[in-house]
């Protein structure tokens, strides 16, 4: 019989209470009537089948009933419903959005075949602290030859070309990839073919593969594009394929790919590094084993080429692990903050439901009196909270979807993934789990409470000790909310201070009133300096004659916009410099560059139009360069070997934060553009900077006209004020702050609502007490003080807990704080102060309400 009793547990408890005894009696009667083993067996099989068929149906009956009831109850109090659904949506939406970002960047495998076998390979230069440096072609060739861990290896270099012909000329990013690259990733073109080994030969016809986006945008998705020629840097390239829509490689800004054609000269210098490489591990080879092998390969090469490679090694890393610790931290902070908001939202909802349960005390008591068991009541209340959570969840996912594009700056551009993460089944699954647990967490407690209050006290209308217990629980919930919002406020405050500190860093130039733009001069048309000279002279002269313009100049790359462009320095008396990788940033400039950027000239002179190829090769160096080689001496007239020539120092300028405000930069060397390195045209000046006394944006139209007149085929890109380039350097910080600020504001609001709700309720519960106090002669100040005092006591507790938690949390943030101390007292004081203001604001209305209590009415009601 116990077995049948156990079987009945498939049914809801309320059903068991109603029919359990009857069903057992029926079963017992049948059992008595069954004679012989087959009959007994048949009876059991029948009973089992009956229970399996009807128990879910009964459960569903009750659920439907509860849902109907919950709908009715919510419709009766629309204010509560809207508020509860809104709060749930905030909590679930923020968490879903944050999780989507984290999943997109950190958790989800890369969108390539068998991504767990893909690794990136880099040169490692311990002396400069660079773990993921570019690779020289000769090293790459030897790595491939000397290693056994890889099924395939592929190399690529970044590419920037001008796409001309149909429509506006356009500067397009991409990559030159080895033929082995796409097969290695396991990705095929959607139309056309992939590169073949013969495409990599120097003599091969020029070919190109387009990204899906470029194909759609520029060629209207015309499948007839295959076999057609398009002009890249004025040279015809035959389109041989189009890659799939979700293919982003090596980063999401790549729009086209050409074959990697290396010539013999590329293999000559092992310090000439410009390749990146990826490898596919042989099945069963773990990453550490491959890394160990490559380190051994690296040290063999370092021994073989001590002059160039001493001290260097090889880094092997899964691409996922190449996400910078800073980006990882940012995303984790985002997720942590979102969970904080979720917890606060749950506490708030629990509070709302508790208050509602109290208001509905009579109704619940009536239901109990009519025979609804505790389990039925709990189940009913849970259904209601789950319904609220589900509605909130649906709205939350919608909110998250709408908000995601605002956070794209938090997705590192260097990962081969889409800019805006998709909301896909995984994310929806996560949202569903969060939604259900939210519903249970905030609903269970009030439900259990409601279930326990079956006493007659509710019906009698009096207040019981349960009431006071409730108030204690609600106070705890409010304290949780305040603590959570203090944590978020502190984190927000610390990051604001960090941003201020970063923004206060002097970049070394004056960014205001400067317009910049890029004219990537197509090669080979502009390969010869004299053709470039014509272009520069014409553009710069006309730009300088525009009203308000005080200086105009060209440079290889603008600071911060481009951090690389690093060359080794050789100076007589410093033979170890190559091995120590003592390098400097190289920029070719036209005369007037320092004036245009506002870089102070400290000694000597600027490069001049007379510093031509036939004249002595000159250089202007930065202060840090002087400090490294000629500390305390006069650097003017000194010689050093740089950019393939001996150069004479003619001037000294201030240091510039080339690599951005938060990173240390190599010392800078500026060379006359007419005295180039003779190897590549990569450094040919293409970035124009124009200083004006007016709004720099007002120059755009005139400059476009000037450039168009100088060369109608010349694309213009990256038009922006220099200030924007500097701002972009802190953009990810600012986006993070925006997001965290929004979270903190939500938390703040929720906590204020929590305090308000609790005190409001307390005041109405204590109406009689207040009435008596007033009748006994309490002053207005006493009454206000009583209510405000309650609010402040809660706040004090919340702030104390929150400050402790914030202290722990902010230590995790330390590396993102740009030197601001994680326990920064002024930030903590400000956050706590804001929390107190919030508490007072939240308590004010209830306090005023307490004032309005009329003693006679209050006491009479009692």
């Amino acid at each position: 019989m116990w077995l049948y009793r156990a079987l009945l547990y498939l049914y809801p408890a309320s059903w068991r209470a109603e029919y359990g005894a009857e069903m057992r009696a029926v079963f017992a009667a049948r059992r008595r009537a069954a004679a012989g083993l087959p009959a007994v067996l048949a009876l059991w099989i029948g009973a089992l089948a009956d229970a399996i068929a009807t128990a879910p149906a009964v459960q569903w009956d009750i659920l439907r009933q509860d849902l109907r009831y919950a709908f009715r109850a919510l419709r009766r109090s629309p204010g509560f419903a809207v508020m509860a659904v809104g709060i749930a949506a905030l909590g679930i939406g923020t968490t879903t959005a944050a999780y989507t970002m984290v999943d997109h960047v950190l958790i989800r495998p890369l969108p390539f075949a068998e991504p767990e076998r893909l690794v990136g390979l880099w040169e490692e230069h311990p002396v400069t602290g660079c773990r993921t440096c570019d690779i020289s072609p000769a090293n790459y060739r030897d790595w491939k030859r000397m290693s056994t861990s890889f099924a395939a290896m592929g190399a690529y270099r970044n590419l920037l070309v001008n796409l001309t012909g149909q429509g506006e000329p356009e500067s397009v990013e991409g990559a030159s990839v080895e033929a082995s690259m796409f097969p290695l990733l396991g990705i095929e073109p959607v139309i056309g073919r992939s590169f073949r080994a013969e495409d990599d030969r120097e003599s091969a016809p020029a070919t190109v593969i387009l990204s899906y986006g470029l194909w759609q945008r520029r060629f209207a998705g015309d499948p007839g594009i295959i076999g057609r020629a398009i002009a890249l840097d004025s040279k015809p390239h035959t389109v041989i394929g189009v890659m799939p829509e979700d293919f982003h490689f090596p980063s999401r800004t790549a729009r086209l790919w050409t074959p990697l054609q290396l010539d013999a000269s590329d293999y000559e210098d092992r310090t000439n590094t410009f390749l990146y490489a990826m490898g596919r591990l042989k099945p069963g080879v773990p990453v550490p084993q491959a890394a160990a092998e490559m380190r051994a390969v690296g040290s063999r090469l370092a021994r073989a080429f001590p002059k160039e490679l001493a001290g260097t090694s090889v880094t092997v890393m899964r691409l996922e692990d190449s996400v910078s610790p800073r980006a990882v931290l940012m995303l984790k902070v985002l997720l942590g903050a979102a969970f904080c908001v979720l917890v606060i939202a749950c506490a708030n909802l629990a509070n709302l439901l508790l208050a509602r349960a109290l208001e509905r005390g009579r109704e619940l008591a009536v239901r109990t009196a009519l025979g609804a068991g505790r389990e039925r009541l709990v189940r009913q209340m849970l259904t209601e909270s789950l319904l609220v959570a589900l509605a909130g969840g649906a709205l939350g996912v919608f909110l998250a979807h709408a908000a995601l594009p605002l956070a794209v700056r938090l997705v590192p551009t260097y990962l081969p993934i889409a800019e805006v993460p998709p909301i896909d089944p995984r994310v929806l699954g996560f949202a569903a789990v969060i939604t259900c647990s939210t519903g249970v967490v905030f609903g269970l407690f009030p439900a259990l409470r409601a279930g326990r209050q079956q006493g007659l006290s509710q019906l009698q209308g009096g207040r019981s000790t349960a009431h006071h217990r409730q108030e204690r629980v609600r106070s705890l919930l409010v304290i949780t909310e305040i603590a959570g919002s203090v944590v978020l406020l502190v984190a927000f405050g610390l990051l604001v201070r960090a941003l201020w500190r970063v923004e206060a860093v002097n970049p070394g130039f004056r960014a205001e009133h400067v317009l910049t733009l890029r004219t990537s001069l197509p090669m080979p048309r502009y390969e010869r300096p004299d053709t470039r000279q014509h272009f520069y002279n014409r553009v710069l002269a006309q730009a300088a004659s525009l009203p308000g313009v005080t200086a105009a100049a060209y440079t290889s790359f603008l600071p911060i916009a481009m951090g690389g462009g690093i060359w080794p320095v050789e100076i007589a008396g410093h033979p170890e410099d190559i091995a120590r990788r003592r390098t400097a940033s190289l920029r070719f400039v036209t005369p007037g560059f320092f004036r245009a950027l506002g870089i102070p000239l400290l000694a000597g002179r600027d490069v001049a139009a007379s510093d031509v190829h036939e004249a002595p090769f000159v250089a202007v160096v930065s202060q840090a360069f002087v400090a490294r080689y000629w500390k305390g001496e006069n650097p003017l007239g000194r010689h050093f070997d740089f950019g393939n020539h001996d150069r004479t120092v003619i001037g000294v300028v201030g240091d510039v934060r080339v690599r951005g405000l938060e990173r240390t930069s190599e010392p800078q060397v500026y060379l006359s553009w007419q005295q180039p390195d003779d190897v590549s045209t990569w450094y040919a000046p293409k970035d124009l900077a124009v200083r004006t006394t007016a709004d720099p944006v007002s120059l755009v139209a005139a400059l476009r006209r000037i450039i168009h007149e100088a060369d109608p085929d010349q694309p213009i890109s990256d038009v922006m004020p220099l200030e924007e380039i500097v701002e972009a350097d802190t953009a990810s910080r600012r986006v993070q702050l925006d997001v965290l600020g929004a979270f903190a504001a939500m938390a703040f609001l929720l906590a204020a609502v929590g305090i308000h709700g609790l005190l409001q309720f307390a005041v109405s519960a204590r109406t009689a007490e207040i009435g008596i106090r007033v009748a006994l002669g309490a002053q207005r100040g006493d009454i206000i003080g009583m209510t405000l005092g309650d609010g402040l006591r809660l706040t004090a507790a919340g702030v104390a807990v929150g400050a402790l938690a914030a202290y722990g949390a902010s230590r995790l943030l330390e590396s993102a704080l740009a030197g601001v101390k994680p326990n920064d007292p002024s930030t903590f004081a400000a956050a706590c102060g804001v929390a107190v203001v919030m508490a007072v604001a939240g308590s004010l209305l209830p306090a005023l309400r307490a004032l309005r209590v009329d003693p006679t009415t209050a006491i009479r009601a009692e």
Binding site: Y19, A25, A47, D50, D61
Partner: protein
Amino acid sequence: MPKSTLPAPETLLPLPPATFHILIALAEGDRHGYAIIREIAARTDNRMRLGAGTLYRSLERMLEEGLIVETRDRPAAELDDERRRYYRITRYGELVARAEARRLAELVRLARASGLAKVTA
């Protein structure tokens, strides 16, 4: 719990077989759960043997729909078992049962007219 205004009997048709059988079993008098099961089994030559779960779920629905009520009148004390609940068909339940019977008879008539069923005297 019978509702204040009951829907027209036809709106409940067709009845689930278990419901119709229960109504027939209760047509001759009040019965408790196990008695209903036995009555149905006897009437159908043991072809229909309701499980306890099916029976009580049907009974609960029929109570809600107002087809039956639980009755307080008990048989003579010596026949009564305190645990058992007795059910009685309502006037409305009778109307619904009759409507279902008419519906089935009409179906049989149609089947006969098309030669799908034997005509018996």
